[in-house]
C-alpha cells in the first residue's frame, strides 16, 4: 500500500468521526430546554408587558435559534451551520459574557479564533516538554529495570496520575506568589516580567484579557485586534519587541510544565513497557548475536521499534492531554480556548461557547491522531509498504 493511499484513507475516516461528533453535540444541544437557551441568548423574558410580550419574546427567540422547525430540520441546519463555521454567538447574558465583556455577542468562531493561538502556544510548549522528558526517561527505566531509576520514574508517573492538576497548579501559583513577592519582584501590573500578575485569575494583566491595564501595546492585547498572526509571541517578535516576546513565553512556562506532568505520567509507563516488550523479541537477540553492543542494541534496535508504540500512545492520550487545558488556563488565567470553556460553564451557561469549544477540541484531537498515524506509517515499513 502506498503512503498516499494510507493518508487518504485516514483522511476519509476523519469524515464520519467529525459528523458523529457533531451529531452527538446536536443531540445534547437539543436536550437543553428551550427556555434555558433563550435565557442565555436574550436574557430573562420581560416582566411587564403581559402574556403577548412573553410570547413575542419566545417567538423571536425560537425564530432566531431555529427551534420552530422539526428536529430533523434542526439537525440539518445545525450540521450545515457547523460545517461552514456558523457556530452561533456568545450569549449576552451568560456568566462568560459577564466575566469577559469583550467576547459578548461575538460569533463563537471569531472568539475561538482569537483565543486559539494562545492555547496552541501553550500546547506546543508542553508537547515539547513531554517528548523531551518522557521518551528518554522511559527508555532508561526499561534498561535499568527495577533499579532506582525505574522506581523513581514509576513513582513520578503515578504521582502524575494522582495529583489533581488544579491543586498542583494552584500550589505552584502560591509558591510563585510567595517567592516573587518575597524577592520583591512582582508588583502591580507594570508591564513585562510581572510573570505573576499577568497569570493571575481575573487580575486582568494578561494580554488578551479585558482590562489590559498593563502597558502591553494594543496590537498584542486581547485577541480583538491582535495582529498579524494572533500568536502573541510571534507578533511580539515580528514587531521586534523581544522583551515582550520573552515575557509571553515566561508566562506559560509553569502552566506548560504542569500540563506536561500529567501526560508524561501516562506516556512514561507505555514507553517503558513497550521498550521491555521489544527487548524480549527475537530480533534483539539476533542483534546481540551479531556482536552489537548493549548500548547500540538499546538505542538503535529497541529504541526505533518502541518509538512506534510511543507515537501511537501519544495519539491515544492526546484527548487526555487536551482535557487538561481548561483547568490550567483557568488556574493561571491564561486567555485560551480552555478558559473560555471554563467561563462558559458558569451558570447561566453559554451553550454556544460550550459546544464550540468541545467541537474545536475534538477536531484538534482527531487531526492530531491523523498526524500520529502518518508519522507511524512513515516510521514502520510494515504499514508503509502494506
Amino acid at each position: 500500500m502506498q503512503m498516499w493511499v494510507y493518508v487518504v484513507r485516514r483522511l476519509l475516516l476523519l469524515i464520519p468521526v467529525v459528523l458523529g461528533v457533531m451529531t452527538i453535540t446536536f443531540i445534547l444541544v437539543s436536550g437543553i430546554p428551550s427556555n434555558q437557551r433563550c435565557l442565555s441568548q436574550f436574557g430573562p423574558p420581560p416582566i411587564h408587558g403581559g402574556e403577548q410580550a412573553i410570547s413575542a419574546y419566545y417567538a423571536h427567540c425560537y425564530k432566531v435559534l431555529g427551534l420552530n422547525v422539526p428536529v430533523y430540520q434542526q439537525w440539518a441546519v445545525y450540521m450545515g451551520n457547523t460545517l461552514d463555521f456558523h457556530w452561533g454567538n456568545v450569549g449576552n447574558f451568560t456568566a462568560a459574557a459577564a466575566v469577559q465583556p469583550f467576547i459578548t455577542g461575538q460569533p463563537v468562531t471569531t472568539v475561538l479564533g482569537w483565543l486559539l493561538p494562545y492555547t496552541i502556544e501553550l500546547a506546543l510548549l508542553s508537547l515539547a516538554i513531554i517528548l523531551i522528558v518522557a521518551i528518554p526517561l522511559g527508555r532508561l527505566a526499561a534498561v535499568y529495570r527495577n533499579r532506582p531509576v525505574d522506581q523513581a520514574s514509576r513513582v513520578m508517573s503515578f504521582s502524575g496520575f494522582a495529583i489533581p492538576s488544579f491543586l498542583l497548579g494552584s500550589l505552584a501559583l502560591i509558591g510563585a506568589v510567595l517567592v516573587l513577592y518575597n524577592l520583591n519582584l512582582a508588583s502591580a501590573c507594570n508591564g513585562p516580567f510581572n510573570a505573576l500578575h499577568g497569570s493571575w485569575p481575573a487580575a486582568g494583566c494578561m494580554p488578551g484579557s479585558v482590562a489590559s491595564n498593563n502597558n502591553y501595546p494594543p496590537w498584542l492585547v486581547g485577541g480583538i485586534h491582535s495582529t498579524p498572526t494572533g500568536f502573541p509571541t510571534i507578533d511580539a517578535a515580528i514587531h521586534g519587541q523581544w522583551i515582550i516576546a520573552g515575557d509571553t513565553i515566561l508566562r506559560i512556562i509553569i502552566p506548560a510544565l504542569i500540563i506536561a506532568y500529567g501526560t508524561i505520567a501516562v506516556l512514561l509507563r507505555f514507553v517503558r513497557n513497550s521498550m521491555l516488550e521489544v527487548m524480549n523479541l527475537d530480533f534483539i537477540r539476533t542483534a546481540r548475536a551479531k556482536g552489537v553492543t548493549e548500548h547500540v542494541v538499546t538505542k538503535r534496535h529497541a529504541g526505533r521499534n518502541s518509538l512506534n508504540v510511543t507515537i501511537t500512545v501519544l495519539g491515544l492520550t492526546f484527548a487526555f492531554f487536551i482535557g487538561g487545558f481548561p483547568i490550567i488556563e483557568e488556574v493561571f488565567g491564561l486567555n485560551g480556548v480552555g478558559r473560555a470553556l471554563a467561563l462558559s460553564v458558569l451558570q447561566p451557561y453559554d451553550f454556544g461557547l460550550i459546544f464550540g469549544t468541545t467541537i474545536l477540541f475534538t477536531l484538534i484531537v482527531v487531526i492530531a491522531n491523523i498526524i500520529v498515524d502518518v508519522v507511524y506509517a512513515y516510521l514502520d515499513p510494515r504499514v508503509r509498504l502494506g
Binding site: M1, V8, R9
Partner: protein
C-alpha cells in the same frame, strides 16, 4: 465402489476464497484462493492423509469439512446412503470439472439444470452446509477435530475436567456426575490418569495436552476426527505414542480420520489413502502404497525426494525445487506448479490440467499423463508424454540404496 465401507464424509468441489481488501476504500481487490475446488471421500474406519506445504490450504480444507468456516461454493455430504452416493458420483461426472467463478455467466443447458436441481435436493438432505440448528448440532456431534498447537487449543482458564466435559455439556449428555464419569474413562483411554482431572492445561507437557485434545474429540463418540497436524508440535518419541493411540482408537471404534500433515513419513505410517495438495488444488490422490511407490505428479515426486531420511548410508539423488511456493493470492495461470516444475512443458503455463483417474484409484492433475478416456488406443497413460523425467522415477533413488536400508 462395491466392497468398500460406507462413506462418512464426501466433499465435492469445495472452494473457499478469502477476499483481499485494499485501495483507498479498502474494497475487494482480489481473492486468496485458499481452497479451490477440492473433492475427497472419507470412508468409515479409514484414514485419509492430506499432505502439502504450508499455505496450500490443507488446514482450511479441514475446517471447511467441519463447517468451522463457511465455504464459498461446493458441498460436503455427510453419510449419504450408498445409492445416493453413487448417484452423486454420476451427477458430478455428468457436470464435469468444477466450473470457474464466472461459470454461472454461461446459461446452462436444460439437462444441466435438471441435474443441478437434483443435486440441490440431495444437498438439502445430506450436505452439512445446508443443515440448520438441530441437524447441524447432530452432525457436529459426529465430526470432531484435534488441533496442531497443543498450547493454544486448550482454554488456559478451564480445568481439564471441564475442558473434556464441555462437548458433553453442550449436547446435554447425561447428568453432571455421569459426564465426569465419562471424562475419567476418556482420560484412561488416552493414557492419562484420573488425578489429571484437577489440573490446568499449562501444567502439562505437549504430548499430554495433545492427549487431552484427543479425549475431548472422543467425548461425543464421533465418526470422523479431523487431525490437523496433531503431531507436528511434538517430539518423535511422543509422536509415536500419539500415533499409536490414534491407531488403537481407530481399531476399537472404527473411527475415520482426516490426517492433515506436512510430514509425509508420518502420513505413510498412518493413512490408508493420501491426497496431495498444492496451492489450494489437489494434484494427486491415491492409495498410500501406490502413491509412495509410484508417485506420478512431479510435485509429489519432489516432495518425496525432499524428505530427509535418518540414514547417513542411504545416498540418493534428490529433486531440489527452485524458489518458493507462489502466493495463493496470485496463483500462476495454467498448472499452478509450473513455476517450480522440473518437467514443465509449454502447455502447463496456459492450460490447467484436470484431476483425472489415470489408474484405478490413482488420480493426477498433470499434463504429463493424458486422460485414458481421451488418450489414443495402445498408449499407456503411465508413460509420461514427452516428459524429461525417466519413466516414473523411484523417489527413494536407486533401489539398491533402498534395499540396503530396509
Amino acid at each position: 465402489m462395491p466392497g468398500e465401507p460406507p462413506v462418512v464424509l464426501s466433499a465435492r468441489n469445495v472452494r473457499k476464497l478469502f477476499p483481499i481488501r485494499g485501495g483507498v476504500f479498502s474494497t475487494r481487490i482480489g481473492d486468496v484462493r485458499a481452497v479451490d475446488g477440492v473433492s475427497l471421500d472419507i470412508h468409515e474406519g479409514e484414514t485419509v492423509g492430506l499432505v502439502g506445504e504450508s499455505g496450500c490450504g490443507k488446514t482450511t480444507v479441514g475446517r471447511l469439512l467441519l463447517r468451522l468456516i463457511e465455504p464459498t461454493s461446493g458441498q460436503t455430504y455427510y453419510r449419504p446412503p450408498p445409492e445416493t452416493f453413487d448417484r452423486l458420483q454420476e451427477i458430478y461426472r455428468e457436470l464435469g470439472p468444477v466450473p470457474a467463478d464466472d461459470g454461472a455467466a454461461t446459461s446452462p443447458s436444460p439437462e444441466t439444470v435438471k441435474l443441478l436441481s437434483e443435486l440441490d435436493r440431495i444437498a438439502d438432505q445430506y450436505s452439512i452446509y445446508r443443515q440448520r440448528h438441530k441437524n447441524l448440532a447432530r452432525v457436529r456431534e459426529k465430526l470432531q477435530i484435534v488441533f496442531q498447537d497443543p498450547f493454544s487449543s486448550l482454554s488456559p482458564r478451564m480445568l481439564v475436567r471441564d475442558i473434556v466435559a464441555e462437548p458433553l455439556e453442550i449436547h446435554h449428555v447425561g447428568s453432571r456426575s455421569q459426564r465426569y464419569q465419562r471424562v475419567a474413562e476418556l482420560l484412561q483411554e488416552v493414557g492419562l490418569n484420573p488425578e489429571h482431572l484437577w489440573r490446568f492445561p499449562h501444567e502439562f507437557s505437549g504430548g499430554q495436552r495433545q492427549r487431552i485434545g484427543i479425549a475431548r474429540a472422543l467425548a461425543l463418540r464421533p465418526e470422523l476426527i479431523v487431525l490437523d497436524e496433531p503431531t507436528s508440535a511434538l517430539d518423535v518419541s511422543v509422536q509415536a505414542q500419539i500415533l499409536n493411540i490414534l491407531q488403537k482408537l481407530q481399531r476399537e471404534q472404527r473411527l475415520a480420520y482426516l490426517f492433515i500433515s506436512h510430514h509425509l513419513s508420518v502420513v505413510r505410517a498412518i493413512s490408508h489413502s493420501v491426497v496431495v495438495m498444492y496451492l489450494g488444488k489437489v494434484v494427486e490422490r491415491a492409495k498410500t502404497d501406490e502413491l509412495f511407490t509410484r508417485p506420478l505428479h512431479p510435485y509429489t515426486q519432489a516432495l518425496l525426494s525432499a524428505i530427509p531420511i535418518p540414514d547417513p548410508a542411504l545416498k540418493r539423488e534428490r529433486i531440489i525445487l527452485k524458489g518458493d511456493v507462489p502466493s495463493p493470492a496470485a496463483p500462476p495461470p495454467g498448472c499452478r506448479f509450473h513455476t517450480r516444475c522440473p518437467a514443465v512443458m509449454p502447455i502447463c503455463s496456459s492450460v490447467e490440467p484436470p484431476l483425472i483417474e489415470v489408474r484405478e484409484n490413482h488420480w493426477v492433475a498433470c499434463h504429463l499423463y493424458p486422460d485414458p478416456r481421451i488418450a489414443p488406443e495402445g498408449t499407456d497413460p503411465l508413460v509420461p508424454a514427452g516428459s524429461p523425467l525417466p519413466g516414473t522415477p523411484d523417489p527413494l533413488g536407486p533401489s539398491s540404496g533402498l534395499s540396503a536400508a530396509s
